[in-house]
Amino acid sequence: MRRVVALLILVLLPCAVHAQQSSSQTADQTEVRPDVRVDFPPPSIRIGEFRAALRLKLHADFRDFDPELGENEALFRRVRVGLQGRLYDDLEYEVEAELRDSQHPFRDVLLNYRRFRAAEVQVGRFKVPFSLEQTTSVFNINFVERSLIASQLAPGRDRGVMVHGRTAKDVLAYEAGIFGHDGDNTRYNGNSIDTLWAGRVVVTPWETNRGLLHSAQIGVAFTTGSLSEGLYGIRGRTISEYEFFEPVYVKGERRRLGVEARWTPGPILVQGEYIRVNDERNGQGLGDVDLPDALAQGWYVSGSWVLTGENKSGGSLSPSRPFPTKGLGAVELAARIEELRFGSDGTGGEPPFSNPRAANILPNRDRILTLGINWYLNEFGRITVNGTRETMQDPARTPLLGRTRFWGAVLRLQFVL
């Protein structure tokens, strides 16, 4: 029953908001005083230079796995509320909280000083500049889940300060920052790094060209930080959150390298990334010997095609014939193939072993093919269906002992106000 109610709410909600917006656009842009304006949707207010907009974002998922893995179905996967705007023209702010997370509800909490486009300064808690997909909002990606490398190898959010900007006629964009720890994505065993340096450069070589390659961009990113000694190696988890690779003991430097590319010619999007994480293991062997680096690496290539022809170069998609007022919305097909693998950067002259101090770490790999369809109802709502085929390397380390192939399906309803 809860499923049906959630389904109805999340389909009807964007339709209702859109209908409201279409039917009374002028009525809801109210000038209370000459310097005060209230808008809807989203509910927002402008008082002089001050701006504030209330945001609401919902995700409801319906999952199924074959074989049955006894996973805990999260009906409402995300329930986020936020406030964003400007304190004055040069100073932006954003606060977003996840209501389902009672322990650490805050996601983004930041101030951004944007006086100089070539050198804006951001401070607070936000995403470490690493990985194209990780730094793209989960409400704007083409699939239900981010790729494994983006969600498990990239740091995610942390407290820090960052300089970022665009220059050379927007051909070059950069972000460079220093952060308190290694990000939320690797915090499962506690904070492994006390100071993380991160940088990302994205080049759009044909930015000034109006041709087919106009939107093509390539980027490179890095992070580096000193690892505390302990069981802080990166773990690997499947879609169903089974831990197929357990953390190993590390000490020394953690170095991430990421390479990314993206191209959005009209209704088509092609995107790919490669990420490699080296964790040093100084003195972590049996008898305190140094071990070869623990190595986590992976890649993905994804593509999508908006059948209804809308342009996707901005990242998000707004249907030209929104449902229910002008048409059926927009429909997009998407596919992604990806791999995440773990092991060691060298054998140490030993055969591979599974223990957390093995010189030659027994490798494991997860490879996933995802096929999906996105139905953008309107600018507020989206329905996504993804089917996945997951193939594991080591039959002894899978959600079901001895079985290496798993199928999954997810239906997601999204509402963003």
């Binding site: 049996l286 599974s354 093995a358």
Partner: protein, 420 residues
């Protein structure tokens, strides 16, 4: 062939290589004619963590060298109940903790007993040898020098784990012609003073029998037969007690077991001073019949005049069993057999009569005590991790000798008082 597949075969081959090449067997590991070296290589942080968290069963990876062969990918953890120690940890060695199906000398696991509760450092090994000599199954043991990262870390005993391997070796074939090792094996988990009183029908009460096989099965399959057995031993009428209990236990074997524990001066066993303790319990495949298995015998040799009927009347099973004349006789007979056995002379060490028959001299137990003492003395003295002095060790040895020389006479006298 795919690269991962090739690596898997390579790994399996390399893991199998030590045992295959040198054909090590558990018999070699437990050969008690000498004291072996066991060398563990472990990260110093892990060794420090193991000692710091000695009350927890956390596994740490290591490599271990026994019988000259190094085994990688092995797990060790702190073990014991009262014997847990942060200076000289008792260790459980699991060969297959990180490597499926790996064995060390054919064993999936074994124990490195830290010998901290027995100043003589001999009682456990002597007791197990005594039980085997008297025809009851008991783990094999041998002393070993333990080295951690090439540092001598004390005199230990290598003790055979009671597991499926032990059960298979001990009981041989099952009713179907296979190996008898797929029954229900339990380790008695001492949590409170308990003497086989009926605890009611709630199976949770019987989880003091900690399952070591079939752990994931339904509670009814694991503990219901135990609850039924305890209920029967408490509620069966005297007239049918023997036949009713025959469904669950061989009472003759049980009488023998507790008689041997009494003979060897065990005050912390089935009839322990604080209730049941220190045993495993094995329920055979496809039956409700079970057998007690002796375990952890470092509190034996209490005194040469240790009462032969101590705590018999406190324990429901022992009291009702020994109320049966047949079992009472079996119990007393076993005591006399044990007395005879430990006094058995040896032609090489005894004084002989004219016909060459031994007529006096040290009995089997005294000889065994002296043999083991001579084996371990040097290493026991240099073991700076033991929680007692070398003088304590020497005095404890003397008390063992005293026990060996006087126990039989005392027992014979006591049996005569009960059964003239």
């Amino acid at each position: 062939m795919r690269s991962w597949c090739a690596r898997a075969f390579l790994t399996a081959g390399l893991l199998a290589l030590p045992a295959a090449a040198l054909a090590q067997t558990a018999d070699e590991l437990f050969d008690d004619s000498l004291v072996r070296d066991v060398r563990i290589t472990i990260n110093s942080n892990d060794w420090a963590a193991l000692k710091e968290n000695f009350r927890e069963n956390i596994y740490y990876p290591c490599s271990i060298q026994v019988l000259g062969v190094t085994y990688h990918n092995v797990g060790i953890r702190s073990r014991g109940l009262g014997s847990r120690s942060d200076t000289k940890p008792g260790l459980r060695v699991d060969a297959d903790r990180y490597a499926v199906d790996q064995t060390i000398a054919g064993l999936k696991s074994f124990v490195l007993d830290n010998l901290v509760q027995d100043p003589s450092m001999l009682k456990e090994r002597l007791t197990m040898a005594f039980f085997r000599r008297m025809g009851l199954p008991a783990p094999r043991e041998a002393h070993a020098r333990l080295y951690i990262n090439n540092q001598f870390s004390g005199l230990y005993a290598v003790v055979e784990s009671i597991d499926k391997g032990f059960v298979g070796r001990t009981f041989g074939e099952d009713n179907h012609g296979g190996t008898e090792n797929d029954g229900y094996l339990f380790e008695y988990d001492y949590t409170k003073e308990y003497k086989f009183e009926y605890l009611g029908s709630n199976l949770d009460e019987y989880k003091i029998f900690d399952p070591k096989t079939h752990e994931s099965q339904a509670a009814a399959q694991i503990w219901q037969p135990i609850e039924d057995m305890v209920q029967t031993m408490n509620q069966a009428p005297d007239s049918t007690f023997a036949s009713d209990m025959a469904k669950y236990l061989d009472l003759g074997l049980f009488s023998k077991h507790i008689a041997l524990e009494a003979f060897i001066g065990e005050d912390d066993g089935i009839l322990g001073y604080a209730g049941l303790n220190n045993f495993y319990f094995y329920r055979f495949e496809d039956t409700t019949r079970s057998q007690f298995l002796v375990w952890d015998k470092d509190n034996t040799f209490a005194a040469a005049d240790f009462p032969i009927m101590r705590n018999v009347n406190d324990n429901v099973l022992a009291r009702r069993t020994l109320n049966l004349p047949e079992q009472r006789n079996r119990y007393l007979d076993t005591l006399l057999e044990a007395a005879l056995s430990i006094d058995e002379l040896d032609a090489e060490t005894a004084v002989l009569d004219e016909d060459g028959n031994p007529i006096s001299g040290p009995g089997w137990l005294e000889r065994e005590i002296t043999r083991e003492y001579n084996q371990v003395r040097t290493f026991a003295q240099s073991d700076t991790f033991k929680p007692y002095s070398t003088q304590d060790f020497e005095e404890a040895y003397q008390r063992l000798l005293e026990f060996a020389r006087n126990r039989s006479a005392y027992v014979r006298d006591e049996v005569k008082k009960i059964r003239p």
